[in-house]
Amino acid sequence: MSETHSASRGLKGRDLITVGIFTALYFVINFLFMLLSGLHPYLWVFMPAIDALFAGIPFMLACAKVPKFGTVLIIGMVPSLIYFITGMFTPLILGLMLASCVVAEIIRAATRYESFAGNAVAYAVFGFGMCGSPLPLWAFHDSFVAQIAGQGMGADYLTTLETAANPGMLVAMFAATFVAGLIGAYIARGMFKKHFVKAGLA
């Protein structure tokens, strides 16, 4: 009888609450690095990677606690919604986040939700969602350059900007994010083994 209760496929109220709490943790980590990324263009470009390195614990814990379809969509879409509502998100991120969450969900479904490797790859893909934050550097490149030049910045700064915003960097950003995601998942696994499993929580 208890089996039918815990093993039902869809997300129930209790699952939504659990995921909501871990989403809060994810959001806070994410927000801190978002603020930090304002300090330097390179920090901004590699913010998704740094974020992926540190935010693995709430993501992996939520996936472990709620091994069902939708967990990752919530962890991705709720922060996007908060960012959007507070005016900090451009529609660009919303779209990229949604796309990477869907791919991550497919990976989790294909690996039946329980495998570490599956969840780790899903997490790495999930990290692409945050690449939507610096993406305007490339997507709206001309608008940026025009405004910065219009504000009177010198030519050498614009050269720096060109290096930061060249297509090679775009590729580097996605690659770094993916690798950092795998490392982040691995760090989370270390913490799982050292603490959460031993404490009987996961």
Binding site: G13, G20, G38, H40, G87, T90, F144
Partner: protein, 241 residues
């Protein structure tokens, strides 16, 4: 529309201390979409200034006068830093802040409308508005929980920091020492809150009552039309930059 006598008897969805207009959260979300669309369109400084002023008038009309003044002043400061200070100073500071502040200027209108939306409405009211926009409960319940958990998270983090201050913890393990109790407490809150909410009937499939009594009024449609017109105007005659 209801009369003000029934308003006084109300307990749910009460709006007090409001300004001249009281837009539905959906209206502000619509405006937010509109300003997000214009964020990366070319705008002349005149049209940008006009938009910022319009947004601060909207804030003031909603009763948030200090917010309106604050944003207007901040915009002036931002413009001065970007156009005068950073090009003048150059060097490391310019490298560090030009991009992020330029970005902040680009999404400035979004920040203005977003701040208005969040300060003008409770989480519950925003969730109700999103529910009317067909955002499913599977997103709204975690959204509410996430927002509800932030203050608790802040409290827990402060406790852990205090506890760490009273122990001699090597710098290398600080992060781990901070993260472990935080995640543990999140886990137990998740469990306890799930139990409490389930026992109160959160899993009920019946559509929830709209206790906020949201309704779109003429003024809401007027604001939305103005926002749409502004987008069209910026697209057509926004200016070169």
């Amino acid at each position: 529309m209801r009369t003000s006598e029934t308003d006084a008897r109300r307990i749910l969805g009460v709006r007090k201390g409001k300004g001249l207009i009281d837009p539905d959260p959906r209206t502000l979300m619509g405006v937010l979409v509109a300003v997000s669309v214009t964020a990366f369109m070319g705008k002349s400084i005149e049209s940008e200034l006009l938009l910022v002023l319009t947004a601060s008038v909207l804030q003031a009309l909603c009763g948030h006068v200090r917010m309106a003044v604050g944003f207007a002043v901040l915009y002036a400061a931002l413009w001065a830093v970007l156009n005068v200070v950073l090009p003048g100073v150059g060097g490391v500071a310019a490298t560090m802040f030009t991009i992020s502040l330029t970005f902040a200027r680009k999404i400035y209108l979004c920040l203005m409308v977003g701040t208005l939306l969040v300060r003008d409405n409770t989480v519950h009211r925003i969730a109700s508005a999103l529910a009317k926009l067909r955002v499913p409960q599977t997103v709204l319940i975690p959204l509410t929980v996430t927002m509800r958990y932030f203050p608790t998270l802040k409290e827990e983090a402060a406790h852990i920091r205090d506890a760490m201050a009273l122990r001699d913890i090597p710098a290398a393990s600080r992060l781990e020492c901070f993260a472990v109790p935080l995640v543990m407490s999140a886990t137990s809150t998740a469990e306890e809150l799930s139990r409490a909410a389930t026992c109160r009937g959160i899993e009920n499939p019946t559509p929830s009552t709209d206790t906020e009594r949201l309704s779109m009024r003429a003024s809401d449609w007027a604001i939305l039309s103005a926002a749409a017109a502004a987008v069209a105007a910026v697209a057509l005659w926004g200016g070169a930059v």
